[in-house]
Structures are given as C-alpha cells and as structure tokens.
C-alpha cells in the first residue's frame, strides 16, 4: 500500500512540489469551465474524513450549476460500497481503497470493478495534546501503544508516557488512546499501515468522527490518537513520525507527504461506478472535472489536506473516460 502510494507520487512529486509555507495547487491544473445542460441530482455516501471536502466541492459545484441537487452523507468509508452497489449514491468517497470483498460484491452486480479516483493526499496524523513533550514516535512504538498483537515487533506493551522517554509528571501517566469507529476508513488504514493488520487494544476510545478524535485529545492531556491532518486545531500537536525505531523523523508537512517520507501518507478516494471503455454521464463527469480543477483542489487546501498533482489528476480523469 505504502509502496504503491510512493510510486504513484514519485513521478508527479518532482513536477509539483508546492511552496513550503503557503500551500498552493499545482499550477498545471486547469481552471474549471462550465458547460451547458448539466442538471439532475448527485448523492455521495461514504467517508467521514472526506465529508467536509465533499461539502466544499458541492458548494463550489452548485455555484456553477445552481440547479444541480447535491446531497452529502458521511458516516464512514464502510458505508460507501453498499451505497454504490445499491445505486443509492453516485459517488462513494473513501479514505481507504476498497477491500477485495467489496470489489467482488460490486463486480457481482455490475460485471466490472468500480473506478477509484484519487482526489486528495492526506498525511494520517498522530495527534497529542499541545502540552505533550514527545518529540518523535516510530511506527513500532505506535503499534506497541495501540495494538495488543504488536505485529510490528515492539518488545513490550507501551502503557505509560514514561516508556516513551517522557519525564516529570508524564513519566507515570498512562497513555489514553483515541481512535475511530470500525466503519471508518481511517480506522482500517491505520490498522493496516500502523498496526501491520494487528488488532487494536480494547482500551482505544472509538470516536464517531475525525473531529471528535481531535476534540477528545484536546481535552485529555495524556491522550494520543490518529485522524486526518486537516482536522488539526490549536489544542493539539502533530507528532513527527519515523518508519522504524531510530530512523529519521518526518513532520506531517505537504513536502514530506508528497515525497513519501511521512510514513502513513495516503490518498483519499472517490469511487465511481464507471463501465470501462464508456463515458460516464455528463453530470458526474463535470463533478469529477470540477474536483480536479484549480477551484476544486483549492478546496482541498481549505479543508487542510494536500492537493493532487496534475499528473495524477490526468490519469484518473482518463480512467473514467473524461478528457
């Protein structure tokens, strides 16, 4: 998973590395031009991480096409495949790729696989309270904190902040764990990449939304949790991560995400029911075009995530038969 991500971005990264301070969209992306006769209703069911982003795109799209009705529902990535299969939604935003079982279910009904459109880049950030002294964590340490199976090879169960080198009042304080509920793609992705497909500890407090994780950590001084980088507030801090114990630490910045250095970087997807070799209907095509336009990717920055380079946008537009 991680390798495919780094590979996909390797080509694009050199072309489009945004400035260090103010994040900007890839200048090669086109301005959105509206076309006539686009009408109908769109419904999106899926990821909670992408909920605000879909809402921002819907607002922007509705500005261009005021008569298009767009409804957004975001209760977790797990709700996207059934909605797409049942035809109750045209778009299925997901914060993880579909699992083999979900792809099979879709194929059983339609005879082809759904198309994944990569709409944004997210560094899945590990948050701690703003007063937390921890400087850096490795994935192994994270696994030892969050998992009861410790598939990443951590030697001992990490239960207190003292075991991570914190001193003073922190040394004996137990670590309070926050995470997402199991319908969430963030839950699944962190389990796969962070825990090596191990099991979460029972003590992880499962939250119903990405923002709820951050709020939990903000009010709990000894907490740690994972959520999309876009949900950062002034009350929490993002911990730099390293892939291995003692390895170099990388902050969850856009540069590190594009270069693949930040170890839990992922794409955010929107799944579409598109028959290979045919064109999708104009309404959906225009929406995807809007997502990959300058305006659409500005929305990504607005929501705190990282925009997609134009090379990837081009690939994905081609995949659903949109020029």
């Amino acid at each position: 998973m991680l390798k495919t991500f780094a590979g996909a971005l390797a080509v694009a990264a050199a072309l489009a590395v945004p400035g260090a301070q103010a994040l900007d969209v890839d200048p090669a992306l086109k301005d959105y031009k509206k076309s006539a006769g686009v009408e109908g209703s769109l419904k999106s069911v899926g990821s909670d991480t992408l909920n605000n982003l879909m809402a921002l795109w819907a607002e922007g799209f509705a500005k261009e096409y005021p008569s298009v009705k767009i409804e957004i529902e975001g209760k977790g990535s797990g709700t996207a495949p059934p909605a797409l299969i049942g035809g109750t939604a045209q778009f299925g935003p997901m914060s993880r790729p579909m699992k083999a079982g979900e792809l099979d279910d879709f194929e059983k009904k339609y005879g082809y696989k759904p198309t994944a459109v990569r709409v944004a880049v997210d560094a899945l950030a590990v948050f701690v309270n703003k007063d937390n002294p921890i400087k850096c964590l490795s994935l192994t340490q994270l696994d030892a904190m969050f998992s009861k199976t410790r598939k990443k090879g951590g030697k001992e169960d990490i239960k207190t902040w003292g075991q991570l080198g914190a001193t003073g009042e922190w040394a004996t304080k137990p670590i309070s764990l926050y995470g997402r509920n199991s319908a969430s793609g963030t839950y699944g992705y962190f389990k796969e990449v962070g825990l090596g497909d191990g099991d979460y500890k029972d003590s992880v407090k499962e939250q119903p939304g990405s923002s709820a994780v951050v709020q939990g950590i903000a009010s709990d001084k000894f907490a740690i949790g994972y959520s999309g980088v876009g949900y950062k507030t002034a009350d929490v801090r993002i911990v730099p991560l390293s892939a291995k114990d003692g390895g170099a630490c990388f902050d969850a910045s856009s540069d590190n995400a594009y270069a693949g250095d930040f170890p839990i970087t992922r794409f955010l997807y929107v799944y579409v029911n598109a028959k290979p070799g045919t064109k999708i209907d104009p309404l959906r095509a225009e929406f995807v075009k809007f997502v990959f336009s300058k305006q659409g990717q500005t929305g990504v920055i607005k929501d705190g995530f990282f925009p997609i380079p134009s090379a990837i946008a081009g690939q994905d537009l081609k995949a659903i038969g949109v020029e």
């Binding site: 301070q21 103010a22 994040l23 006539a36 006769g37 686009v38 009408e39 109908g40 209703s41 419904k43 909670d48 909920n51 605000n52 982003l53 809402a55 921002l56 819907a58 607002e59 509705a62 096409y65 005021p66 008569s67 298009v68 009705k69 767009i70 409804e71 957004i72 529902e73 975001g74 209760k75 035809g87 109750t88 045209q90 703003k130 007063d131 002294p133 003073g168 009042e169 119903p208 939304g209 990405s210 923002s211 709820a212 951050v214 709020q215 903000a218 876009g230 949900y231 950062k232 507030t233 002034a234 009350d235 607005k302 929501d303 705190g304």
Partner: protein, 576 residues
C-alpha cells in the same frame, strides 16, 4: 393506630424524645423534604443547562475587540482573544525565561496562563487559532485601524484595509464612512445577488426543462424502443427544443459573465498584521468592521446583522459559516408533516380501542404492545424506516412511476416523506395513550344523555365525546411534536443530510418535493460539533444552533398550547 400505641409508650422511658420523630414522620415531613429536594435538583439542572446554552449562544455573535500581541522574540499576532487557561510549562521552557517570570511562575506553583487568539487568515497562515503564553508577551495593543473582515470564503480576515479599486481605478481608503466605499460594496453585493437569481431561477428553469425532456425521451425509449416512430419524433423534438434552450442559456450565461466581470473590477486590498496583502472582490465580502473603534450602537448593529444572516442565510464553507435557513425550514417542514400523519392515525386507533373494541384480552394485549412501542430505541425505527419505507416502498414507487430515472433513485432513498413517516411511527404511541386517557375522562353521563336523545354511536362520538376530549388529544400531539422535532438518530438513516440547500418546497412543479433529502437543526448541531474541520470555531455555532432548536420547539409547542387553551375555553361553560 392501636398497634403503634404500645410502641410509643414502650419508647417513652428513653431519655431522647422519640415523640418528636414520630411527629415529623406523621406530618410527612421527610417525604416533603425529599420531594422538594428532588424538584429543586431537577429545576436547577434544567435552568443550569438553559443558562449554559443561552449564555454561550447569545454571546457568540457579539463583535469582540482585536488584540495585537508582540512577543518577546518579535513575532506579532493579531486576533480576537478567544479563551484562556492555566497550564504547567515544562522545566526547560521555564529555564529559558527571564528571572522575573521564573519567580512569578514559581510563586504560582509552576503554573502560567496562556490565551487562545482567533487569528483568522487561514489562507495565509494555514491555522485559525494560536495559543500565546503570557510569559512570551512583550506588549499588547488595540490599534483602531484593525478590521475584522467576514468573507464568503476562507473564514474571517484580521488586518487593515490598504486600498480599494472602483471599476479598476485605485482609490484611497479614508474610512468606512466613505460613501464611495459603501456604494461599491452594496452594488457588488447586489450584482452577486442578481447572478444568483439568474442562476437559481432562470438558468435552473432551462436546465430543468431540458432534463425533463430528456427523461421523457428515455421513457418513450423504454416503452416503445429506440426504433419506433414515437421515439424518432420525440428525439427530433428534443433536439430542436434543446437548441432553442441552449440559445436562451447562452444569453443568460453571457449576462452572468458580464456581471462577474463588473464585480472583478471592484476589489479590496487587505493586509494582515505582518503586511502580507490579500486581494478580495467586494462581492465576496460579507461585512467588515473596525473591531477596536466601535460604539455600542455599531456593535449592536453588527450583532443583529449576524443573527439575520444566521437565520435567513444558507450555510457556507462546509456548514461552519453562513446561515442555517435550510435546516430551520427542514426541521419545521418535517415536524409538521409528521403531525399531519401521526394525529389522525393516533386518534383513530385510540377511538377504536376505547369506544368500539370489546374490552378483553386482545385489546389489553394491543394496548400493552402500543405502550411497549414507546420504549423501542429510536435508531431501530430508523433502520426500519430505511429498510421498509425507503428501500421496499420507495424502491417499488421508483420502479412503477420513475423507471426512466433509474438507477438514480427518486423515492428509493431517504427523504422528507420517509423521515416524517418514521418519526410518526416513533411518536404514535404517545398520541394513542394520551387520546385514550382523554376519551376515558369524558363523563359517562354525557354519552348516555346523547344516546338517550336518539343520537347514534358515531354521532355521540363526533359531537359529544371528541370535542370534549380535544384538549387532551392536543396534549398528546404536542408531546409527540416535541419528541419528533428533537429526534435525530433515526433521521440520519432516512433522509437528513449534511448539505441540501435545495428546499423541499419551491417554485418547480409539483412544488412540494417529498422525495428530497433535507437538513435538520439537530443533525446540524452534531455535524458542526463533531465533523467540522475546525472544532474550535464550530463550538460557538453549536450553542447558537442549540438555542435556535430550543426556540423552534418552544414556538411550535406554544402555538399548540394556545390552540388547546382556546378549545378548553370553548367547552369550559358546558361542563357540569
């Protein structure tokens, strides 16, 4: 009595006076204290909750001053002080401080204070809030030139006005009372509104006509096939119509483009506290005010303008800004629709159970079942609504009446109608129980009098029993309404969505669109509180929306109570 007498006499020899204790108990004193205490606790909790919500909700829109903080390192920050707290700085931080601050922190047992500033300018900084500890501050200032700018996009901007352009020509900014400044702002906003009207009504009409023509064609194709003559005729009709409409559309689009270009020449240059400039169009400016240079009346004006925008506007920026009008409308429409369904159903059921059914085992079993229904968790109703109403009923409606729209569902997904029906199911036990009680309370003598005068059973119910039971029935409906308006969990499954600016009632035939998803204040609270990107900025909005929801439920209830009292008065004279 006789049994307690020996007890008292037996206890009499002890030196303590048990007589007083018995006295207290017999007067019911402990029970009185217990009941009174319970009531007091209940009232305190309710008042405390209301006070918390009201205090936070009402204060949200008050314009606050902007403070400029210069830190010892030279960093300058401008923002609204949001809240402050005490915290324990780490030893290495304290070690780097000046001896004076070290002594002060030491005197406070190692605690220091810090303040959260709302700095705005998310497009420049990538953050909207910043914590600044007191020990890092060199100076505070509140310069009068600083403006708080509310924008259509990117959230607020805190900074100064550098200058503005009128029709492309540079102007010098002298102050907000410059008539030219107000004039272009008004004109730009008017143009933006005009663009919206053109797009919302006229272009939308064209698109709607085109879409329905396309659907009509698809219907003919499904009925008589692609090769039929009817299809060919319809296709030719569609082509000619769409060219005409396309022409009309092009004219409107050109009109919009002209308005947009006019707006693009009227711009405002803002600068943040560090001098970084930002250009925005006047049409994207909601309002700006000099936060540190306002009198009471000006503050009040901003306060009420913000309330006005909140109550009548549409949400912006993924629901964190703008108004909640679609949510207010959705909540009210859904609640009323629910009442229309639940009231007749509940009353008819209760009438049958009380007046017609033979009282026996079966009836009491039905009654117990109804009472148990009230205890089913509301999310179960949501699942039932989704499975039965939306998928089974809605799916069949789609297959029968809207086959040309498939696979896009019309009724086969959550919507206003299904939500109202689900909530009606949820609240029907309340109405049944209340109605039965009200019917039982009508004196037997009145029924007998009516029957003795030769009225039939139905006439007795219709003219004697029902009118007198009406106030009681209304009470049941009011309770049902209050429960329905505040319920969110089942609605999340059957039709409430994060964003649906399209109202369920509008000017396009058939005017009432029961199949549309809608926004709901209760869900809006959940969404803004737990799902918005910036939880900090969302928190005040949660309180405001809660105040609004409580207000809405109060208004609906008050209306129903007034109606009930009128009914009561009408029959007050005729009771013996």
């Amino acid at each position: 009595m006789t049994s307690t007498m020996p007890d008292t006499t037996a206890a009499a020899p002890t030196p303590k006076s048990p007589g007083r204790r018995t006295d207290l108990r017999s007067r019911g004193e402990p029970a009185l204290w217990g009941l009174g205490g319970a009531l007091a606790i209940g009232v305190t909790m309710i008042l405390g909750f209301l006070a918390l919500v009201l205090a936070n909700g009402i204060a949200t829109f008050i314009p606050k001053p902007i403070t400029v903080v210069t830190e010892i390192g030279g960093t300058v920050t401008a923002g609204e002080p949001f809240r402050s707290e005490v915290f324990k700085p780490t030893p290495d931080v304290i070690a780097a401080l000046s001896p004076e601050w070290q002594a002060r922190i030491d005197a406070a047992d190692g605690f220091a204070r810090r303040t959260l500033y709302r700095v705005g300018n998310f497009d420049l900084y990538g953050e909207d809030f910043r914590w600044i500890p007191d020990y890092a501050v060199a100076t505070f200032a509140q310069p009068k030139s600083l403006m708080f700018v509310e924008r259509m996009e990117w959230g607020p901007f805190v900074g100064t006005v550098k200058g503005f352009k009128l029709d492309g020509a540079d102007q010098i900014f002298t102050g907000l009372d410059d008539p030219k400044f107000a004039k272009i702002h008004d004109e730009s906003r008017a143009r933006a509104r005009e663009i919206r009207t053109i797009e919302r009504s006229r272009i939308s009409d064209i698109n709607h006509t085109l879409e329905s023509a396309r659907l009509e064609l698809r219907k003919i194709e499904m009925q008589s096939g692609r090769s039929s003559s009817a299809y060919a005729a319809a296709e030719a009709g569609l082509t000619s119509r769409s060219t005409a409409l396309q022409r009309e559309y092009d004219t409107l689009a050109a009109e919009v483009q002209k308005l947009r270009e006019a707006n693009a020449t009227n711009t405002l240059t803002l600068a943040d506290i560090g001098g970084r400039e930002k250009l925005i169009e006047f049409s994207a400016l909601v309002r700006l005010y000099p936060a540190n240079d306002m009198n009471f009346v000006q503050k009040l004006r901003v306060y009420f303008l913000r309330w006005g925008e909140f109550l009548t506007g549409e949400p912006r920026e993924a629901n964190t800004e703008g108004g909640v009008f679609p949510a207010i409308f959705g909540t009210a429409a859904m609640t009323l629709l629910m009442v229309i369904v639940v009231a007749p159903f509940g009353v008819i059921t209760a009438l049958y159970l009380r007046e017609y059914a033979k009282q026996g085992r079966l009836v009491s079993f039905v009654r117990i079942s109804v009472n148990n229904l009230a205890g089913v968790p509301s999310i179960v109703y949501g699942v039932f609504g989704l499975g039965f109403f939306a998928y089974v009923l809605g799916g069949s409606i789609d297959a029968l009446f809207y086959p040309e729209r498939l696979p896009n569902p019309t009724f086969g997904t959550g919507g206003l109608l299904w939500s109202a029906l689900t909530l009606a199911l949820l609240t029907v036990p309340v109405v049944i129980v209340a109605t039965e009680e009200a019917l039982a309370a009508v004196p037997r003598s009145m029924r007998e009098g009516s029957l003795a005068s030769g009225a039939s059973k139905w006439q007795t119910i219709r003219y004697i029993v029902l009118p007198r039971a009406m106030p009681g029935i209304m009470t049941g409906v009011i309770l049902a309404m209050a429960r329905g308006a505040g319920e969110v969990a089942p609605l999340m499954l059957v039709g409430v969505v994060k964003l649906a600016p399209e109202l369920p009632i509008d000017g396009i035939f058939p005017f009432v669109h029961l199949e549309r998803s809608f926004m709901h204040l209760g869900f809006h609270i959940f969404d803004v509180g737990f799902q918005s990107r910036n939880a900090e900025a969302g928190k005040p909005m949660v309180f405001v929306t809660t105040v609004l929801l409580i207000g809405l439920v109060t208004i609906i209830n008050a209306t129903a109570i007034i109606m009930r009292n009128r009914l009561k008065k009408r029959f007050a004279g005729s009771q013996f």
